[in-house]
């Protein structure tokens, strides 16, 4: 699964980790517009849109590699991954498009007035609920990577920092 990124330097997975953390948290916040307020909901989601594109660009090699051999010899797990990612892409696109269609902040700012349509509104909510499930599955399929990378870039740095004074003392005494 991670063979493509693994070949690169460790920095790549750190970049991935930061991006994934940002989109994960942003998505959760975006599913609760009444918690953030409507204007923040819209701007946050616009930022999320950009970050998802970055996420895809970071995984471009994987996308190309699996696309090429989707009907050939490829592990079933990768194939399932691929289908799920296509579903995710479609769902996120629907969320973003319907969001723009019902926008009260971003689109009016551009001087545009769209006719209100309850269909977009309910589709927006529905696609967002579907997204919760799909992203849950997406994360589940990468759970080992998430645990491994969290240890490396989140837990270990914190532990190291907590132990720093002691090690510094030790080196001074020597």
């Amino acid at each position: 699964m991670q063979t493509v990124t693994k070949a690169k330097t460790g920095n790549r997975s750190k970049t991935n980790y930061v991006v994934d953390l940002i989109i994960g948290i942003s998505f959760l916040l975006a599913t609760a517009p009444n918690a953030t307020g409507e204007p923040i909901h819209e701007w946050l989601s616009m930022g999320l849109l950009v970050m998802v594109v970055v996420h895809l660009l970071l995984h471009w090699q994987w996308i190309v590699a699996i696309s090429k051999k989707l009907f050939g010899k490829v592990a079933w797990q990768q194939r399932i991954n691929y289908m799920l990612n296509i579903g995710l892409f479609i769902d996120l696109t629907i969320i973003m498009f319907t969001g723009v269609m019902i926008s009260k902040t971003v689109v009016p700012l551009l001087g545009l007035q769209l006719p209100s349509n309850l269909t977009w509104r309910s589709l927006h909510g529905l696609a967002s609920d579907v997204g919760v499930v799909l992203i849950g599955l997406h994360l589940a399929l990468h759970w080992d990577w998430i645990v491994r990378t969290s240890k490396r870039y989140l837990i270990q740095p914190i532990v190291k920092r907590l132990h720093k004074p002691a090690t510094q003392l030790a080196t001074k005494e020597q």
Binding site: L28, L29, T31, A32, P33, N34, A35, E38, V53, L56, L57, W60, A75, W76, Q77, F89, I90, T93, I94, M96, F97, P115, S116, N117, L118, T119, L123, G125, V132, V133, I135, G136, L137, L139, A140, L141, W143, D144
Partner: protein, 111 residues
């Protein structure tokens, strides 16, 4: 240029999805909203208040067949974040650890 080309491909894929959506949705949505979105009914008609009106066919909000859906946006408070995080956690627990379990038992060969 390379990155721009990739972004263009992503945009085209998104346009394809949106095109498909537009091809499907308005055709059936238009039927219910031919005259635009109905105004919200904020007060009860006398007949509704006395219970003599048939709520299910009330013309006040045809999109809900008279059933009140509960405000325009009552959904999505902080509780929503907790709820959605919980749903994701359950899915991850079931799928990620379910897969691990199946793999260990070699129940599904290709996992």
């Amino acid at each position: 240029m390379n990155v721009l080309g990739r972004i263009l491909i992503i945009a085209l894929a998104a346009a394809l999805v949106i095109g498909g959506l537009l091809a499907f949705v308005p055709s059936n949505a238009a039927a219910g909203f031919a005259d635009g979105r109905p105004d919200r009914q904020l007060t009860l008609d006398p007949a509704q208040a006395s219970g003599t009106a048939d709520q299910s066919t009330s013309a006040a909000r045809p999109e809900f067949a008279g059933r009140e859906r509960g405000g325009d946006h009552h959904e999505g408070g902080f509780g929503h974040i907790i709820r959605n995080a919980a749903i994701m956690t359950i899915i991850i627990a079931l799928v990620a650890f379910g897969m691990r379990w199946l793999r260990r038992r070699r129940a599904v060969v290709w996992l």
